[in-house]
């Protein structure tokens, strides 16, 4: 719809390609809205939480390389679609500011490849692009009428608003809720917005993480939500795969970009809904 094309440097992260419908929906939404996410060539894993905990020096080289690549490839911003990538890159940016001793060391390492970290580009989550850069009117043009009957519990995960608390309130954020309302959904009030999903501990410590996930799902159910929607592949995977429904039906967990696509009138098949472990289309159909 918008004539001008919004272009960004894009860091997909490791989970993106295999995530259940994330890539399909992001691509579909971008095509409709004229957004061009230009994938960084030769990108590497950001290291996420694990790398920084185990070996900070190496972790900084991993992340520093991403900034250097983005700069060399002429981008002005780096957009991520994963909370962990988002926070990891921002953490690295803080540590690699001008004058920091780590910066010199990282550049020494990058020099072997002919790369150099000069300017730290701003890092933004894809949600910010859709909320702040796309005009609000764009979302109502082709909205199907059933959207208004669906109640969504927005789940932010813990790393989008913490520790920065500059994008939104740290414990009680509202950005994703406002985005869903702008799409036309009903965003339910609930208290599980930022409580932990277990992240990468969910598989090795499944027994301990299931109750944590159940807390999130039951809170969403208690508030009458039909869907839980999130903006991080790991959060989505944990919630999608580890719901233990003893006596209640599981709640589907589509990505926020899949819901954005629905609001634009794009059919669910083109948004990767088929890949969700807990099927969403039937749940939606029941509501409408």
């Amino acid at each position: 719809m918008p004539k001008k094309v919004l272009t960004y440097g894009f860091f997909p992260g490791c989970a993106y390609a295999t995530a259940a419908g994330y890539r399909e929906s992001v691509d579909a939404v971008n095509r409709r809205l004229g957004i061009d996410l230009v994938e960084l060539a030769d990108w590497n894993c950001c290291g996420a939480t694990s790398a920084f905990s185990l070996n900070q020096d190496d972790a900084l080289i991993l992340t520093g390389r991403l900034f250097a690549l983005a700069e060399a490839q002429g981008h002005a911003q780096i957009v991520t679609v994963c909370n962990a990538c988002y926070t990891t890159l921002r953490k690295a940016a803080q540590m690699l500011e001008q004058g920091s001793p780590d910066l010199a060391r990282v550049n020494a390492g990058l020099a072997r490849e002919g790369l150099r970290l000069g300017r730290l580009l701003p890092v933004r989550h894809y949600l910010e692009i859709l909320y702040a850069d796309v005009p609000a009117e764009a979302w109502s043009a082709a909205r199907p009428e059933y959207i208004g009957r669906i109640k969504v519990a927005a789940y932010y995960g813990c790393q989008l608003t913490r520790p920065w608390a500059d994008l939104d309130h740290a414990e009680r954020p509202a950005l994703l809720d406002r985005f869903f309302r702008r799409l036309g959904f009903q965003a339910v009030e609930h208290s599980a917005r930022t409580i932990c999903c277990g992240a990468s501990h969910a598989l090795p410590y499944e027994k301990e993480c299931r109750p944590m996930l159940r807390r999130i799902v039951e809170e969403a159910r208690r508030r009458g939500a039909h869907l839980i929607s999130t903006l991080c592949p790991l959060c989505q995977f944990n919630l999608d795969s580890l719901q233990t429904p003893p006596d209640a039906p599981p709640i589907p967990v589509p990505y926020f970009s899949q819901l954005a696509g629905l609001a634009l009138g794009i059919p669910p098949q083109r948004l990767g809904f088929g890949k969700l472990l807990i099927p969403a289309e039937s749940a939606i159909a029941k509501v409408v």
Partner: protein, 1129 residues
């Protein structure tokens, strides 16, 4: 240049300071070095120079060696300079012949290498020796002191300090900004560790302070200004208006019962409500009530006539309709009229719109005007005056002038050209909007005041301005309105039957006539007059009425209610059409040809100009055309009054403020001056003109009259209104009934039916009381001793005191930023102060621990260290929270038997009987968990816990995470410096530490003194502390103040500034920079002069002076240069 004579004979003493200097600095080598310096007669080193033997060396050597200068190299001069100066003085030399070299704080404590330290010590000594040779003798003076003490703050600290000083025989002023003394302690229930109730132990002190013959209590007061110096302070105390006379008020409380305004009770920490006139708590000292007034509510400010809108809305809400109507009548003699026709600017600014919709103020005014029989209201007493006044024109402006001037006692005669009174109200507004009966009733009341009315009298043919003057009318008001119409200026307008301008048309309708109206009517225009004409035409039987407007619907100036009524009555609206020509056949109108328009650029009214589109003609079939495009003044009489000036827009010229015309005895207002405008604007003009005329007649200056005593409140840039409570539940706006459109057209019966009584009461209860007190004067009426006085203003009193004790206390940390604790999000989360109020017998639950829904909690969690010991908020420990948290635990157990869980980091119980209290609480079965609470959430652990809160914390002793369902959570919040501490600090010149607490002079050795002589600290303002320590410190501060003043004199500083009059050029730069206002300008000699009593020797003037005529004694350029050179060379 050689030093002053006599030749210096210097003694140098190097102190070991025990283990502080000697191990690092080679003191013997330094002494040896000193001996080699010029003029040094003797040099020693000794373990403790400040001790008696040490000082003995000095005095002995001064005598035996005939020393006239002394240097001691030891600690900081802030420690011992006074000590050694005294020693010199005792031995017979001027104390200012002494210099100290700091080789401890500046050398041995900060230099790790011994050789470097010794070298630096040598430099310090050399500098001191070089300097001291150039010292001159200086003398301080004794000045008398005022034997009285100011205590700022009336909490437990302030009260104790005041009592101690008063018992010592000193006059004491206690200044407290709240209406009562007692501070925070008055809010508490039981206090630790002895569990005595705060009120029981404190009220004797409160009474003492209130009744002591030596103590003068200033409540509702603040410090406005501080001048002077130790022993001689001049303090400005601002007494804020209480609006209740303290001498008369008996504290009976009848006023509060009568007050209609309910606001949040700050003393109860917002947990309950109180009236706008109130007393903080039953044992308040003084017992006097006071009124909480914010800035006038926005509705009051928006009303052009200044009606007390909030006031009458509140009275309606109470069912006090007569009082409400009387209040309206003070500013508006035509309530029933305006309640039907006013455009209600008050509703536009009503802050209820921030919750749901504005209050239906206009409908409420109509309701109360209809409820009360005007004749039943008592007639006002009028003190007659002889002067006669003529009012020409009986529209709203004229009626208001007549009413106001009659009440002032003038003999008023109303002249009206029509045969009935009322102006446009009578002949312009149709009956279905404004029934004739309403007008008769309200005009009748004005006439009954004693106003004479002559109808059928025209200005020009029947009376003239000078003619009236000749008849003895000392002043004349012209309120002739705008009763002529603007012409369209299109072909066919003249000479065709069926074309009648709206003003004339409506006049005929309202006079009971039946103006000819065909079957198809076209009305041209978009204002109220056009809509009135259209709706009247429908009632007169026109089958089809079309209203033609040249702009779009959005730009139509007519009231939305009127447009809606017209649409319901079948009037058709044609927008974006401009009249071109009136077609006629056989001399009778048969059609209106129009052009389509487009909206172009904005004109001076801000609306977009309609631009006709050529070739877009179309014709509306009609047999009647009613142009309603605007009104103008009838000027036919003007040429006989050449002295009366007109404005460029053909309106009567009148001064904007006083409404006086070019003829001094003639005043004008309303549509004749402003052009066609609203009724309420005419009323407002009437008030202004009446006031001006009154002043004119009394030969007073005609300046803009003040509105009277109630206007005396200061206006500020940002209006201060009551905050809208976040839990205000939305409630729909009430709408009055309307006659069914079908039934409306058969007559001119009133179309709008107004509010029913239940609706009016409900609507009035939606009012938010933005201005707090609404000035309805119910309290004045209720008070049997006439103690309430709304005209009181703030006053400032100057007092002289010798010493000041600051006891401004603390405030509680607001835990809202710690969102994880849910304060302000979940209802059953309380701060410690709020919980105290729940426990206190005078609080919102009469001392019972109850949840907001009335249930008793079964399990209560108490969270320590909320805001304290927190890197992001307050780093310090607030010292009292562990103890009061345990006190809460005890109270909960005792009153409710509920389970109590306390979550702490450490338990701090250091005082007398505190540890015993901790043991007792443990024995009472309180669960104490060592672990800071991570969050309080409403996500239930198990389904049966839904509705309860869950506290999440780690029990660090068992290393398990605890998720505990509870009913109530108490947050033990940090103590912070009181609000306003920063500003008070600036007034007093007090420094604050990085947490905002006032700085004491020395944390261990001088905790109640400050760096400013004569100003002392008591209580929490210096740092968080409990009640025992506060009382002790307060007595100490009072003791210090008394000690300072007991001798009757204080010594002034000797190291003060001096200005050489021969060098001073009179530029006055120094006056601007002196922080103590110690420099004055001698006009006679054109030089600046230092006041030796005020100067504190800061040096700002010396640094600023461009001609080097200002210098500080004992810190002259010469002395400083010698010191520097000794170090550098």
């Amino acid at each position: 240049m050689s030093p002053a004579s006599p030749i210096p004979r210097i003694g140098v003493y190097i102190c070991h300071c025990g283990m502080n200097i000697a191990p690092r600095v080679d003191v013997e080598a330094v002494a040896q070095f000193a001996r080699s310096l010029d003029h040094v007669v003797i040099a020693r080193d000794y373990k403790f120079m400040c001790s008696n033997p040490g000082q003995e060396f000095i005095t002995h050597d001064i005598r035996e060696q005939r020393l006239n200068r002394v240097v001691v190299a030891s600690c900081s001069p802030r420690m011992h300079e006074p000590t050694f100066r005294k020693a010199c003085e005792k031995a017979g030399i001027n104390p200012y012949y002494f210099q100290m070299a700091n080789i401890r704080e500046q050398v041995s404590w900060v230099t790790f290498d011994g050789q470097l330290a010794t070298a630096k010590a040598r430099d310090q000594v050399a500098a001191a020796v070089a300097r001291v040779s150039f010292h001159t003798p200086l003398y301080s003076r004794e000045v008398p002191v005022t034997k009285s003490v100011l205590v700022i703050g009336g909490g437990i600290a302030g009260m104790q300090a005041a009592i101690t000083a008063a018992e010592a025989g000193y006059d004491v002023h206690v200044v407290e900004r709240e209406p009562s003394i007692g501070g925070h302690m008055a809010k508490f229930d039981k206090t630790f560790p002895s569990l005595d109730c705060a009120a029981c132990i404190m009220t004797p002190k409160m009474v003492d302070v209130g009744q002591h013959e030596k103590i003068r209590l200033h409540t509702c007061s603040e410090i406005a200004s501080v001048e002077g110096f130790v022993g001689n302070f001049r303090i400005g105390i601002r007494h804020r208006a209480r609006y209740v006379d303290a001498a008369a008020c008996t504290g009976c409380g009848l006023c509060a019962e009568a007050c209609p305004v309910v606001v949040s009770n700050r003393f109860d920490e917002g947990l309950s409500r109180r009236k706008a006139i109130y007393r903080s708590f039953p044992q308040a000292v003084p017992i006097t009530f006071c009124i909480d007034k914010k800035d006038r509510a926005p509705c009051v400010g928006a009303c052009p006539a200044g009606i007390n809108v909030q006031g009458y809305v509140q009275l309606i809400g109470q069912g006090k309709y007569r009082e409400a109507l009387s209040l309206i009548l003070e500013k508006l003699p035509l309530p029933g009229v305006l309640g039907r026709v006013c455009p209600h600017p008050c509703e536009t600014v009503c802050r209820r719109a921030e919750v749901d919709q504005p209050i239906a103020i206009c409908d409420l005014k109509r309701f109360v005007a209809d409820q009360v029989d005007l004749e039943s209201l008592p007639a006002p007493e009028i003190a007659e005056r002889a002067e006669k006044v003529a009012v020409i024109g009986s529209g709203p402006a004229g009626l208001t002038v007549a009413h106001d001037l009659r009440l002032k006692g003038y003999q008023v005669t109303l002249f009206e050209a029509q045969d009935r009174l009322g102006g446009m109200l009578r002949v312009g507004i149709p009956d279905y909007r404004l029934p004739q009966g309403i007008l008769d009733r309200e005009i009748g009341r004005i006439l009954r005041l004693g106003v004479e009315a002559r109808t059928g009298v025209r200005l020009g043919p029947d009376v003239t301005l000078h003619g009236l003057k000749a008849q003895g009318f000392a002043a004349v008001f012209l309120g002739i309105g705008a009763h002529a119409s603007l012409k369209l200026g299109i072909p066919g307008e003249e000479n065709a039957t069926g074309v009648v301008d709206a003003v004339r048309f409506l006049r005929e309708v309202n006079s009971g006539g039946q103006p000819p109206v065909g079957a198809r009517v076209a009305v041209i225009g978009g204002g109220n007059v056009a809509v009135d004409a259209a709706r009247a035409a429908r009632r007169l039987g026109a089958r089809r009425v079309t209203l033609v407007y040249r702009r779009s619907a959005a730009e139509m100036p007519a009231y939305p209610e009127e447009i809606k009524g017209a649409e319901e009555e079948g009037v058709e609206f044609v927008y974006m059409a401009a009249p071109l020509r009136i077609q006629s056949q056989n001399g009778a109108a048969c059609g209106l040809t129009c052009l389509r328009t487009q909206l172009g650029a904005a004109d001076e009214s801000g609306r977009r100009r309609p631009v006709p589109v050529a070739g877009s003609d179309f014709t509306i079939d009609c047999d009647t055309v009613i142009p309603a495009i605007g009104q103008r003044i009838d000027r036919s009489w003007a040429e006989n009054e050449p002295a009366l000036a007109w404005s460029a827009s053909q309106l009567i010229a009148a001064d904007a403020r006083t409404l006086q015309t070019s003829l001094p005895f003639v005043f004008a207002g309303g549509d004749a001056v402003s052009g066609p405008a609203t009724v309420i604007a005419a009323v407002a003009a009437g008030h202004r003109a009446a006031e001006s005329m009154h002043r004119f007649l009394q030969e007073l200056a005609l300046t803009s009259a003040a509105e009277g005593p109630l206007a005396a409140r200061p206006k500020e840039d940002q209006p201060h209104w009551l905050d809208i409570p976040p839990d205000t539940a939305p409630a729909p706006r009430q709408h009055g009934g309307v006659l069914e459109p079908g039934r409306r057209l058969s007559s001119f019966a009133e179309a709008a039916l107004g509010l029913a009584e239940a609706q009016a009461r409900a609507e009035a209860s939606r009012c938010l009381n933005c201005g707090a007190c609404c000035e309805c004067q119910e309290c004045v009426r209720a008070c049997e001793v006439k103690a309430v006085n709304h005209a009181m203003t703030d006053t400032v009193e100057q007092v002289e005191v010798g010493a000041v004790v600051v006891a401004t206390g603390f405030k509680a940390f607001d835990p809202t930023p710690l969102a994880q604790y849910g304060y302000g999000i979940f209802p059953e989360i309380y701060t410690s102060l709020e919980f105290e109020r729940l426990n206190n017998a005078t609080g919102p639950t009469s001392g019972k621990i109850l949840m907001k829904d009335g249930r008793t909690p079964r399990r209560v969690a108490i969270v320590h260290c909320v805001g304290s010991r927190d890197a992001r908020h307050r780093k310090y420990c607030s010292r009292v929270c562990c103890m009061y948290s345990m006190k809460f635990a005890h109270l909960v157990r005792e009153k409710t038997g509920a389970e109590v869980w306390e979550f702490y980091i450490d338990i701090r119980s250091p005082g007398k009987l505190y540890e015993e209290f901790y043991n007792r609480v443990q024995e009472e079965g309180v669960h104490l968990v060592r672990g800071k609470v991570a969050e309080v959430t409403d996500i239930p652990e198990r389904p049966e816990d839904a509705g309860r809160l869950t506290v999440v914390a780690e029990n660090t002793l068992t290393r398990r995470t605890l998720r505990l369902p509870v009913d109530m959570v108490v947050l033990s919040v940090a103590l912070e410096p009181a609000a306003g501490a920063e500003d008070l600090g600036k007034l007093l010149g007090l420094q604050r530490d990085r947490d905002g607490w006032f700085n004491e002079l020395h944390v261990k050795l001088a905790p109640v003194k400050t760096a400013t002589s004569g100003i002392f600290l008591a209580g929490c303002c210096q740092g968080p502390k409990d009640i025992p320590d506060t009382v002790a410190q307060a007595s100490a501060a009072a003791g210090e103040a008394v000690a300072l003043l007991a001798k009757g004199t204080v010594r002034t500083r000797a190291e003060i500034s001096v200005i050489d009059p021969d060098l001073c050029s009179g530029c006055r730069s120094c006056l601007d920079v002196c922080p103590y206002s110690a420099i004055r300008f001698d006009e006679g000699r054109a030089v600046a002069v230092v006041n030796e009593a005020l100067c504190q020797g800061c040096g700002s003037c010396a640094a600023t002076c461009p001609s080097s005529s200002a210098s500080v004694k004992h810190f002259t350029d010469r002395q400083l240069m010698e010191e520097l050179e000794a170090i550098l060379l």
